[in-house]
Symmetry: D2
Subunit: 364 residues, 4 copies
């Protein structure tokens, strides 16, 4: 068993390997198995990465990261990476001894032992979603060439709801356009008005030395029908596996998910209808997936992911001193994102795109 | 691409292949990669299968299935199967033409084309959770030998909540015992009183020709610490992938999941404490997994799965006539489970056990 | 690490798992990943197995094996097996203590430890080529449907050479027919006259309590062009890996192989020519594979495999007493094949067919 | 199916991906799955690469290649590459129309279609053994740390035999030392005297505008016992698969291989003996592998690989004009190695080491 700071996803066709830590020289991703004609559009990747980048406004951490992606392509392998500007070695022995609540500190110690003291388990950092976005940007570009739109937005933060998919028709073109527009916004919501309210909540948490979580909704339009399969081959299994690669995700539901589990069959079932002579679902409680299989234009793929509030808060918290074997307290210094959800929106698109693109390559 | 009615999970060590349909001669599972000393305890498997079996009471379908499991062991391969008693060929062309809402009928047609008319896409049937349970029973037996308890129960049906993990201490021995006792109950809840209320709701749905969904909670005690890893190697990803192999699952959340996404960091974080000199979490919003890694005795693994209401209802529903290309209605005949959740409880344990056992084999 | 008596080949599409031992209840093979429309032709499989069966004549062991294959097909899995008639448990502790020279006795002890005493490492037995032939028979039937002929014959035994590929033109139709006819012969040679001389040599070895080895040549006609690839993807690598699954194989060479390594480039190179307006090689020293890639009708695939003489001989041999830690001698009792090569001919076809069929499935 | 110029080996633990062409900017290799503590010793790698480098003497091509290896290590991924100095685009359309006999020209055209005209199928070039050597050098360093010696030498060129393993005792320390010394020689033979005769033959071929092939013998001392397994898991299968990744290899035999197939059992069997109180084989016709399993110190692993004469010769050869659909002739210009065998010696060690190291990682 290797204790190297990296992690590999073995898809049907693509192998995706992410490596690095907050303070390593580079962080990046290797994608093996790419068709010959796939070339990254670096401008589009840069624009995509900018959506995830921090330091641009009040609600995100002020630490500047350039996040400039360098690509190397060799055969079927694509390597994309970012040079870390801050590689000063830190001493994490203090937090390894008194682990921050709900951080990966304690987990890192379990996995890497004393070695974790050098790195602080930096591979668990939210920073490591950057390489996921690099790989995802390639997948998104390839999906787009096939007319597939993968759009996420903040569905909810601190009790404030954005306008969302379920408030519209199954294939509502207006909402589809609104979602497409989110990618161009500094704060990724459909309703800017609701976004302002969310920002207030985030700012309030920041002021209190606290943090807030939220929900991201992702909708996929134009994905071909008939992809996936029964039992282990279901689309939900494939997407969920990739979405859980995002730190802070603690839940995923398709269609109306948990809410649907409280309904009756007569309320929850999605009738088939011909609308303007095109077959579609009347409602899309199924999230565009039935029997594990995509429904194509009959209904888009829709799912929500729950992000826990970021555990880094300056409020004093209880923890333990592992050496002294006693209870103690901790106050986490430095400035941190009081809410990771806005920056998580493109990450959800990236993870989803990797799942979908791998599925497509396996059938093309 | 094969259109054979089967599905294979390729784990780190184990390959699990499930096959069959409602009306095929047998349904079963092949597990390749089992250590030599693993022998199924057929009595325990039979007892486990009985928990999933239908036809025993008012709230489940009266169709009798013997579900007697036959095992064949050859080298590292274990084949477990059930002989179907009802193999009369049906003609599914009618439902394939007018697909039942939120069933897999339409999806089966997309995947298998006209061939689906012969089988009705029977591999999508809830009946196919029986082979999953066969494989799961072996995994559960092996986990139990290592002192690991995997216990699920109905957390919620039709708005009625069972007593559940979060109402108790992180490592509450009393609740652990209560959960262990659920396996012996006809109706798998902790609180029999709450169970009676749930059964009323189910009976009411049955009377109305309708159905209800629900939530299953699963808790894993005694799983070793330090299993899993960052990014793609997280325990949540592995468990979620297997849980989504269960038909009707539309959501999975770990710890307080979606609820946690509405909290502040100061509310959601799990402080470390020494309790009776043993390290544990003060709360377990993390669901026993931090940084994708199991916490061992510091906190058990806890997650919820959302089951949609079964789509088979006798109420008249809207659908389409695909040949005539027009809207129509459908009324599903025959008797069906008005609620699959009670029978889904052991299935959740089975899927979870397969994920956990494969992870353990990879590290042992 | 499991010490189960089985072995799995993970191909691009097919997984092939062989299990059993000389004295287990059954021996057999599981093939996972077969397309839905592949159904074994049991009569053809039986005919194929008969070519491998022993006990039919003077030069093979008189032990009768029925070798009747039973097939079970479930989803993408095909299970083919043979019921062993002789399952009397033996005590192998004597040969495990004084291992038979060049048998797998000592190796089995290294791998399985004391457990090997019960089974005698029976999975190493030549008997285990029967399951390989079961899987191969399916592959051969599928190849034949695509117009592909896989034909092996004894090229050489004890210094006696059969008529062989290199003595004929690259695409000589007459020789192709002669090879096809070999499958119907009791003694699988092209020249019956040469076969008689070989049989004399085998009989002589038998009389002396000794054994002889030999070379099997395999020619594949009609395999599509452009299959395989550079470096790790070469056809030779794939075929060699499967051929070495046959016990007693100690060498494989493509085209003129080792002989070619003694030639000059001007002698060894295969000129391209138009013959009767069809492109072909003038000679086929390449064995129909260049750059790891099949040449289709330009040149058939040709290779040789070296079989060592069977180590089971009644002559007194030197060995050791492992417990007493001293040198001793051994005389192997019972009747054994003085030459396994005739029966190995269909086994070579089987192993080759599995390699080729898996390659085809990956590109179809 | 990608037509990218790269090739991936998926081992039990390691994935090895080689990419590049004669005229691409870089050629190199990605190795994924390396333990954290594995760091390339760049000086040793450089020394190893020098053994493969051309241009140093009369018998090899005068084209200078620096072959300076640059390493990048990121997580479990190691990337080693060489910057090509000569990246001038060539026009290969001429040789693609009139393919050079026994080159990969025609095969490249089958695989890559017209795209091959730009690259000349450069991934088939012997130059691509450099990346194999990069990966192999890491594996060799790790094997050496475990006391394992992998030593190859020229066994035979143009009918001239070097001193070789079979002329010595099974565990002859003197020969083991002689083999170890070969790595330091410009011409990799045991007997320098025999080497001079080989060089004369090579020089003679060069003068005639011709080429010669040969045989490389590889011996592995100190490899642990009990590695490998029956049927598909045999050491021979694993090693052969990797050795066939080397261009120009057309045969591989273990122990006495093809020669052994002409012997009787009584001649070919390897008696066990205690020699100086240590168990070993009296002869090693088995090549140190029985039942697919390594014998450890009882007998080293020994095998031969046949290299065909390099097809690049200046003598006029027959070929075809594919456009004009007629026979023609070709004379290959430029200077080429009249014999690749000396430079192939470290390549054989590299391929072997990758196979062995992957096997070890799977059991450690």
């Amino acid at each position: 068993m290797s204790d190297v700071m990296s992690s590999t996803y073995k898809g049907d066709i693509l192998d995706v390997m992410i490596y690095g830590e907050s303070h390593s020289e580079t962080i990046g991703v290797y994608v093996n198995g790419l068709p010959a004609n796939v070339t990254p559009d670096t401008a589009r990747t840069a624009a995509f990465m900018a959506r995830r980048a921090p330091g641009r406004n009040a609600w995100s951490t002020p630490r500047k990261e350039a996040d400039e992606v360098v690509f190397e392509r060799n055969g079927a392998m694509l390597h994309g990476y970012i040079v870390n500007t801050n590689t000063k070695p830190k001493d994490y022995s203090s937090i390894m001894n008194s682990p921050r609540p709900s951080h990966a500190d304690y987990a890192a110690k379990l996995l890497y032992g004393e070695g974790a003291s050098k790195s602080g388990g930096g591979i668990f950092s939210g920073r490591m979603t950057a390489p996921l976005c690099i790989a995802g940007s390639i997948a998104l570009q390839e999906l787009e060439k096939r007319g597939i739109q993968v759009s996420a937005h903040i569905k909810r933060i601190a009790g404030i709801d954005d306008d969302s998919y379920s408030a519209h028709g199954v294939n509502d073109e207006g909402f589809r356009s609104s979602l497409a527009a989110v990618a161009g916004k500094e704060f990724p919501v459909v309703s800017n008005e609701r976004g302002e309210l969310m920002k207030e909540k985030i700012e309030q948490a920041r002021t209190e030395g606290d943090s807030v979580g939220g929900v991201v909704e992702c909708v996929v339009y134009g994905f071909p029908e008939g992809i996936g399969g029964p039992i282990f081959d279901g689309m939900e299994a494939k997407i969920a596996q990739l979405i859980y690669a995002i730190p802070a995700v603690k839940g995923i539901e398709f269609g109306n998910g948990f809410e649907g589990s409280d309904l009756k069959g007569s309320e929850n079932n999605d009738p088939f209808v011909y609308a303007d002579d095109k077959l579609e679902l009347k409602t899309n409680h199924s999230g565009g997936i039935q029997g594990g299989i995509s429904l194509g234009n009959v209904a888009p793929i829709v799912f929500d992911c729950a992000f826990k509030p970021t555990p880094s808060i300056s409020k004093i918290q209880e923890t333990v001193d592992l050496k002294e074997h006693k209870n103690t307290t901790i106050s986490i210094e430095g400035r941190h994102d009081p809410c990771v959800v806005p920056r998580a929106v493109p990450v959800v698109e990236a993870a989803t795109a990797i799942a979908l693109y791998d599925l497509l390559l396996a059938t093309e």
